[in-house]
Symmetry: C2
Subunit: 674 residues, 2 copies
């Protein structure tokens, strides 16, 4: 069985690749910054792809317990590989990332060990970090409670110091203070770093961190006074490979030395010594958000890779001016191009910005090491803005990309199901997006008051506030040309954001209470993040100009234009108009430039997604296959469905027959020959 | 274990109910149109709630095979109940709706039987409808193919007439023509109505419908020449209780009488008789879309009920001006109010509009029965617009409501997981939303040309095109008062939509090709649907004025205002500004009116969701409990998790111990007393 269309599918992708105006390999290196990094990733990925335990082919047919079990086998094999190959921590991190699976040990590394390293004394690090690294203890980070997520100050778990025994008594006063959602705690963790209110002699000193043994590392039985378990399944089948858990403490005693004491300390006799600087521990919070921004970019890149490839091979409806007998490639519909190309540019933008953010975080860390917090406020605001904007755009974008693929987008085999399901909670964790947007707005208000009083503002991220001196709607003298100038685009982004910030300040001056202005903060957050990404694109253009990647300049410029114009004319048109940055009378002409740009980027869409460098195994999508054989892949996937044979099928059809053969139906069926 | 907050949760909801400015019972009757309807629904719901088989409490812990099996038991019990109580078709439909589960038989009733009734001859109806009603055959509707969804004309399955044997030969020429996604076909169906290209003597007559036996009703074995199975799991765990299937036909012979021949016919000797009117069969397509609009409204109502209740009992962060020792109710945050109240008004709007649409559909049906298609174009456009707008707003709204609930919104026990997962494909099925929007736009362009040539347009749904005579931005003389006048709101909605339609026409005149204007169609579709809903609200206000429900007038007015203002200032601000309907300089004042309105509707939010009339069992949400005991419900749900005990836990922890006890770790653990 074969037909013209089926043969054409592979050709369609090949033709799109032949058309490329640039080298995807060069772009791939540009994205990752160096050939060395690319080589290292390739090496780790090839290890993952060569081992059957990392295959995801059975996941679609597994229930949650099987998925969780598989995920633990994955953990075990990753550890073995690290040992066999004597990997550095950095290599192990890349290896784990290539396995692309949230596991019960994910937070053991990224939270439990990280927080001990950041906030433990040298002695504590020696003891616990070492035990963790050999996996003799497996830990989690227990902050969130049943009734407390965002408000850490309001946590209910208590750590009361008993100076007689030199112990802390960890206690859950009521069900609302049960630790909840703790990744790894459901069935796995032996230990937890617990956020609890420190109480000494009846006085509360606020939340501090304590290492609390949860289950015996001998047999995993819960220790005395501890009630622990898994909180159950998540929405959309997300986090199925993770055992988020709960725990309740009934007067659990731990030694004084189990409080993490790099900053605040409690002496044996029960004296509280506050930290030198109360914000030194904020670095790790910023880091988690930077990681989230990076993941948001790469996850969107995955989704857009699948969607661009599948929409290139899928054909629907006959074209009026095509005599091939083939229907039109879906990617050629403007409704598909106008939805996918902005997402493609956004994926590039978030990846570039995340990359730069990592570098700036390293600077921050170096400063914090010497008790210097100068960079902290700006990095904090930048991370807040990009985390909340990036996670929203990425998860909405994954779902939009899925919708672009029509019916088959709804198949689990599209590969976008878990991508969305396991990333959509990033809108909520590490700071709810709407809560974080208030932090961004507060930072910008401070910068505004600096600017107003003639002082200088944070140069990189808030200099656009000086643009407030421009009072009018932007006047183009030669629109078609100027709108494609990076500095004009950046200026428009700046003017818009500055006016939104100024408008918030005006309302506060008019005594509108802050609590009523949450949505203004949200709008500012979006605009600020979009400015940061636009700015990143402009910097990348400058960077490419003077590098060996100069040949990539035109295609990066087209992505930069795409991000700029799609934000102005599509995603965020409302605020460009409401701030009178753009004049409605210019929209017709702007849209005509934009339409051409969409078509131009679409011509390069396939090589642009190829440049992300996903292999078929890492993408794990029937629709996103590199060779375009999507329909055959869907067919093969359905054939693997255990529901189609043996006991599974027999049990179901037995239930069907109980319906079909009701009453005297069997007789009726036989006589009426149905 | 108990605390102040826990006790307060039930009080919080009670206080919100005490504050109600209207009677939720009266509103409940207004929503359903009559006390009779309410009584019937209550009766059917109480049956469902009294039978354990309809309980959904085990679903969160079941894999897909178990869910599908449970769903078949549900089907069986529904059929038994209908028989035991000698139910009318209408009552059975209400009973089934109250069970609120997509089952392998859902399309047996709504598609297989419906299409036979609509398109079969009397003889065919007598035979197949009767067998279907007694469930001696279970059917599905097989249209979509692996490579054809939207484009029905392009289907590849063939039905070749063999006049010698007076049979059709149903054949799948290649894998791309495999029927795919067919609901009920995976493991259940004995028969299918198949869309296939009718071929007589080598000539194709386009797609027609054929009843094809698939599995023997005796033992469910696939019949000769048939390869059939389940296509596998869907994205986000959606449709888990449904067996969407595939089938490939290898020269399967069926009698001539198995072609549905109410309209087109094939004579025994092979002569093709075309239908009298080629659009008479379009009615059922419109009906399916009306059903989808109705479901979109009620599903959004479910989500908003859960979110409003949970955000009322959840407290986070201390309030500055509250000495109760309690934190602030999340519902009091403006970011939550500004997200939830528009959704609440939208749910009411879609439900009201869907209800009216049903009535108009009955008129259409009566007309079609006498071969009159006058109403068809307008009803088609209305259904397209509301289906594509309504499904998008509803599914986006469910996910937004989930996000408003913070971390616990991501628990499966939020009750919003399957609601989103099983409704999000409605953006794609029965016409992809973006494809349908082109139909809406074409209808409005026709109306525009009628208006331009001095002829009259469809009065209810396109009369706003006459507003094109107004050339300026709307000038308020007394903004704060005028913006709350329904006729002003409706006028603004009309002007905006008219200008978008005119702008599309202008671009076509300037020879921009239709294919480049998909997104303009989409914008028009959204605007047109929003006009229709606004119009419905205004009609409802008039209706309530002259009815015994007059006491509800103020609260319906506040919902109508909320829909109007949130659409203008929030959801669709971009097009109100881009069409210069609204002046940016009016936004400050408009937003100040809007902020007051949001606060006002928020005061009634709990009684407004109570009015939808969901019980705890129908909502099936730990977070949306009527008594507000959300945290206790989450706790209880986690305790039911089978993963926390017995064999499931032992298997998982065995895998954990293989990690913890690696190498000489066990010795190390014992000696270092971890």
């Amino acid at each position: 069985m074969n037909n013209k269309h089926l043969v054409q599918m592979t050709n369609d992708l090949q033709e799109a690749r032949n058309r490329a105006s640039f080298s995807p390999d060069a772009m791939h290196r540009f994205i990752h910054g160096s050939s060395d990094k690319v080589e290292k990733i390739d090496k780790m990925r090839s290890i993952i792809e060569s081992e059957p335990v990392f295959s995801k082919s059975q996941i679609p047919f597994q229930g949650r317990p099987e998925q969780l079990h598989h995920s633990l086998l994955v953990c075990k094999r990753l550890i073995e590989l690290a040992e066999e190959m004597n990997m550095s921590d950095e290599d192990f991190a890349i290896l784990t990332k290539q396995a692309h699976m949230l596991t019960p040990l994910s937070l053991h590394y990224s939270a439990f060990m990280a927080v001990i390293k950041a906030q433990g004394t040298q002695e504590q690090v020696d003891k616990w970090y070492t035990a963790s690294k050999r996996h003799a203890v497996l830990g989690c980070y227990a902050q969130t409670e049943l009734s407390h997520g965002s408000n850490v100050m309001g946590l209910g778990t208590l750590a009361t110091y008993d100076s007689k025994t030199q112990e802390f008594i960890i206690h859950t006063p009521d069900i609302t203070a049960a630790k909840w959602w703790i990744g790894g705690l459901g069935v796995t963790s032996t230990h937890a770093v617990v956020q609890a209110q420190l109480i000494i002699s009846g006085k509360s000193y606020g939340p501090h961190l304590f290492i609390v043994p949860i289950r015996s590392p001998i047999d995993l039985k819960p220790l005395k006074g501890i009630q622990v378990g898994d909180i159950g399944p998540k929405a959309y089948g997300g986090f199925s490979t993770m055992d988020n858990g709960y725990v309740i403490f009934d007067h659990v005693r731990i030694p004084r030395n189990n409080m993490l004491m790099k900053f605040a300390k409690v002496t044996p006799e029960g004296k509280y010594l506050p930290p030198v600087h109360d914000k030194l521990s904020y670095g790790s919070m910023v880091k988690l958000r930077v990681d989230i921004v990076d993941a948001a970019g790469w996850n969107l890149a995955r989704a857009i890779t699948v969607a661009v490839r599948y929409c290139t091979v899928r054909r629907q409806f006959n074209s009026e001016n095509d005599n091939s007998g083939l229907e039109t490639q879906v990617i050629n519909y403007s409704s598909v191009q106008h939805r996918l190309m902005p997402l493609l540019a956004t994926a590039y933008g978030v990846i570039f910005t995340g990359d730069t953010l990592f570098k700036r975080f390293d600077q921050l860390l170096a400063q914090l090491e010497v008790n210097d917090t100068t960079l902290l406020p700006e990095m904090h605001a930048t991370a807040c803005a990009l985390k909340s904007w990036g996670t929203r755009r990425s998860t909405d974008g994954i779902e939009d990309a899925r919708k672009c693929m029509g019916g088959h987008g709804f198949s689990y085999f599209s590969g976008l199901s878990d991508l969305f399901a396991s990333n959509v909670p990033s809108n909520t964790y590490e700071g709810d997006n709407y809560v974080l947007s208030q932090q961004t707005a507060r930072f910008l208000l401070k910068q505004l008051s600096l600017a107003a009083s003639g002082k200088s503002v944070s140069s990189d991220t808030a200099s656009y506030l000086y643009l407030l001196k421009e009072k009018d709607t932007f006047k183009f003298s030669n629109l078609k040309q100027e709108i494609l100038e990076p500095k004009v685009q950046l200026k428009l982004f700046g003017i818009r954001t500055a006016r939104l910030v100024a408008n918030l300040a005006r309302q506060l001056q008019r005594n509108v209470p802050w609590s009523e202005l949450n949505m203004d903060c949200w709008a500012i957050n979006l605009a600020h993040a979009e400015y940061l990404v636009m700015n990143e694109f402009v910097n990348r253009l400058t960077e490419a100009q003077s590098s060996e990647q100069q040949v990539l300049l035109p295609v990066i410029k087209s992505l930069s234009d795409m991000f700029g114009l799609s934000t102005i004319l599509n995603t965020s048109l409302a605020t460009f108009l409401s701030t009178s940055t753009i004049n409605p009378s210019d929209l017709d002409e702007l849209n005509s430039v934009y339409r051409k740009l969409v078509a131009e980027v679409s011509m390069n869409a396939v090589p642009l997604v190829d440049s992300f460098g996903f292999t078929d195994k890492t993408l794990d999508s029937a629709l996103g296959r590199y060779d375009g054989r999507a329909y055959e892949a869907l067919w093969e996937a359905a054939q693997r469905n255990p529901l189609n044979k043996g006991k599974e099928l027999a049990k179901l059809q037995d239930a069907v027959l109980q319906i079909v053969h009701r009453g005297n139906n069997l007789e009726y069926i036989k006589t009426s020959k149905l």
